[in-house]
Amino acid sequence: MSTFVTVDHLEKVFPLTGGGEYLALKGIDLEIKRGEFISLIGHSGCGKSTLLNMVAGLDLPTGGVVLLEDQPVRRPGPDRMVVFQNYSLLPWLTARENIAMAVAEVLSHLSHVERRGLVETHIDMVGLRPHADKRPAMLSGGQKQRVAIARALAIRPKLLLLDEPFGALDALTRGNLQEQLMQICEESQVTAVMVTHDVDEAVLLSDRIVMLTNGPGSKIGDILEVNIPRPRKRMEVVEHPSYYSLRSEVIYFLNQQKRVKQLRARKKPAVARHGLEKVNLEIGFVPLTSCAPVAVAQEQGLFAKHGLEEVSLVRETSWRGIVDGLAGGYLDAAQMPAGMPVWFTVGGHAGRPLPVVSALTMSRNGNGITLSRRLYDQGIHTLNDFRRLLLESDGPQHTLGMVHPASMHNLLLRYWLAAGGIRPDKDITLTTIPPAQMVANLKDAHIDGFCVGEPWNLRAAIEGIGFTVATDMEILPNHPGKVLGVREDWATAYPNTHIALVKALLDACRYCADPANHEAIRDLLARKEYVGTDRRYIHLGDPSQAVCDLDQPMREYAHHLFFGDGVNRPSRTEHLWMLTQMARWGDVPFPRNWIEILERVCRVSVFSTAARELGLMDIRYRTGSLKLFDGGEFNADDPMGYLNSLAIKHEVYIAEVPLDLPSRPAA
C-alpha cells in the first residue's frame, strides 16, 4: 500500500507571551498508509493535539511539512475532517440539521435527494434515529459524539482526525462508541488518526500506536505495531496473547516519560567532595533478591562511608528502564544483568554501540527456570519431557518469559533449551516480561514458564503456580548474575568516584555474604522501596523448605553468592561466553574485534584498586574454562570455533564493531 499521509520533519514553535518561544514538537516523521488507524499517545502537553491540528491544517507548522496524497497541507479542509473532543456541534441546530449542514456545504454538487440520503444513512449508522430531531442540549455526551462522528463521516473525508473523541464520556458509553467507531472504520475503510491518553483505547483501535515523548521538543519516542487481527471485538482483544505485552509496552513508555521528567528536574551538576569527582549519584536497580548489595550499601551507610554522600537509588521495574536510564544519561550507574555491558558495547541497544564498562560482579546464581503447574500436571517434569511435548505440537505454541535479551536468564534459558534439543524462537516463543510481572503472567497463562531471578521462582512454587524445573546450579554453576555497569565516558570522567562506588558495593557484598546478616537483609528487601514482597519469598542462603517443587523431594537449591573467591572480579571469559551466546541467538553480531571489546568492558584494574584499598588483598580469582551442565566447555581462546561447534543456533553474523576511541582523563 502506498503512503497516504506523510509527516516530514515537522516542527512547531509557539511564541510565548512576554517574549521567548516554546518548542512544542521537533523532528516528527510519520508515514500513514491508506486505511490505517493511528493513535497518538503521550502525556498532557506533549503536543499530540498540536500534531493532529497540523495534520488537519488548523495550525501550521513552523518547520517541515504534512503531505496528503503528496499535496502539502496548508489550510483546513473537509477532506481532513476533525472530530473534536467537545463535539463542536452547533447548539441551535438539531442533530439532523448539524449533519445536513456539513453535507450541504461540502457536497453541494450532489442533488438534494442524494444529500438527504447521505444524512439519513449516517444517522442510522450511528444509531441516532430516535434522537435525530433533538438539539444538542437535549442529547447525552455519547449521543453528541455520535452526531459529531456521523457529521464527520457523512462528508466522506479522506482522513478522519479524532481529538480525544471519547475523553469526556463515561466508561460504558466509551466502550460502546469505541466498538462502533471501529466497526465503521473497518466497513468504510477510513484512514484515521486519533489522539488519546487511554492506553486500552489505543491498543483496541489502532494499527499502530505513535508514542510521543514529553516536551519541550517532543518527538516520536516509539511506534508500536498492534498485530491483533481485525475485525476486533472489545472482549476478544483482551484475550489476545499480545494484548498485555502491547499494553504494558505503552504504559512502560508513559511511565518512563514521567520518570525522565522527574529525573531531568532532579538532575544536578556533579558535586565534588573528599577528592571524589562526583558524590551525588543516581543508581538504578530492579527489585530482585539480588539487589541486596545495592540496598545494603544505601541502608548501612556504605556509600557514605566511602565518600559517596548523596546517593539516591532509582527503582526501575524492568531492565528496559535501566537501559533507557543509562543510555539517556539519567543514571550514573546501575545494577544490571551480567550480559548487559557487552550487549551495550556491541550495539545491542538501538543498534548503536555504547561502551559500558563493568568493574564488579555483584552477585552470582539466584536464578531458575520455572514451568507452569499445567505442564507439571501433564507429566512434564524434565527438560526431556518438555522437548517431547514441544516436538509433538505443531509450530511454536508455547511461550516462555525472560527479562531482557542481554540478561543471563535469556542466555541460560536458551542454552538449556538448546541443550535439550529445542530450538528457541522456532519450537518455542520467548517473550520479554519485567521480573515482577512473571508470576502474574504465568498465573494468567500468558506464558508457560520463565527464567528469572529470585524471589519469583520461589514465589511461583510457594503459590503452587509453577515448579522450578532447573536452577542455574544445573546449567552453569556460579554464573554471574548482576554486575555493576557504568558508561565508559562516565568512568573516564569520574575515575575516583568509580573506584569509591566499587568499594562501597564490594563492602556491601561482603556484608551480604555473612549468614549472620541474612535475617536483617530479608527484612530490608521485603520493604516497599526494594523488592516489596513477603519476606518468606526472599532467601539468601539455603532455603529451609522444599519450595522449588510442587511435590517432589527437595532439590539442592541454587543460592545467591555475593562475595568470595572468584565471585566479584569481572571475568573476561564469562563476558566473552555471554557475548558468544548473544551472537548465537542473532541478537547482536559477533564482533571481530572481540578482544578490544572485552578490554574495554572489563575494568579489572578498577576492581583491583578497590579491593586493595578495602584490604582484600587475599581475594583470589578463577581462570580457565567454563563448564556447562551438558558437558559443554568454553574457553576464551577461540570463541568463533566455539560458536561453530554449537549445533542449534541462529545464523551468526560476524562484524567489526567500531567504537569511538576512549577519551583519556586529563591527569
Partner: protein
Amino acid sequence: MAVSMLPRNRQTSLPTGIVRLWQNLGPDIALPLLGLLGFLGAWQLLSWTKILALPGPIDVVMDERSRYLILHPFYYTSELDQGLARQTFASLTRVAKGYFLAAVVGIGMGILVGLSPNVNKALDPIFQFLRMVAPLAWVPIALAALRQNEPAAIFVIFITSVWPILINTAVGVREIPQDYRNVARVLQISRKSFFLKILIPSALPYIFTGLRIAIGLAWLAIIAAEIVMSGVAGIGFFIWDAYQQNYVSEIIVAVVYIGAVGLALDRLVAFIQTKIAPAS
C-alpha cells in the same frame, strides 16, 4: 396512624380550594399586592401630613382633571390636547423609529467591529467616549444640527440606544466559540454561510441582551427629549405642559403611564428573545 390523620383531613377538607389557591398564587400575587398597598398607604400618609407637597393617591383619583385623564385615555381635542394613550402612542412611534435605526446601525457596526480587530481598535475609543454622553446633552446638539423637533427627537433616541446594541453585538461576534470557527474552517464553508449559519445564531443571545438594555434607554431618552422640545405631541411634553400649569395630579397619572409602558417594552423584547434566541 390512620386515627391521627383523620382530624387533620377534616380540618382542611372544607376550604381546600381556597387554601390550595392561596398556596399556589399567594406569594406571587398577594405579596406584590401587599407591597403596592403599603407604598400607596405611605404615600397617602406623607401627603396628609404635608411632609410631601404632593397630592396623595386618593387626591389623584378624586381630582377632576386627572380623573378625566384616567377615564378618557383616547379623547382628542387638538394636537396638543389629547388623551394620554394617544400621547404615549406618539412617543412610542418616535421611539420605534429611533430604536429601529439604532438596531440596524448597532448590529451592523457591531458585527463589523467584532469581526475586525483593526476596526475595533480604531473605533472603540470613540464609542466608549460617546456612550458616556447623557441623552439630554444630545438634545441641543441634535436641535442645532437638524433644526427640526421630530428628527432631533429620533436622533436622540438613536444615539442613546445604539451603544449597548453595538457593544453587545461586537462582544457576541468576538466570542463565537473557537469550536464553531474550527468547524467552519474544516468544512470550508462560504462567507455567506458562515455569516448566516454560524455568526448570527451564535451572536444572537448577545445581540438580544443589547436590544433589551437599549429599549429601556430609548424610552428613558424620549421623555427627556420631549420635555425639552416643546410643541410636539408626546407624553414627555405633556408632563412639561402640566408642570407649567401646576397640574401635579396629571403629572402623576402620566408617570404611571411611563412606568407601565417602559415595563411593557422590556418584557416584550424579553419575550421575543425567548422565542428567537432561547438560552441554551
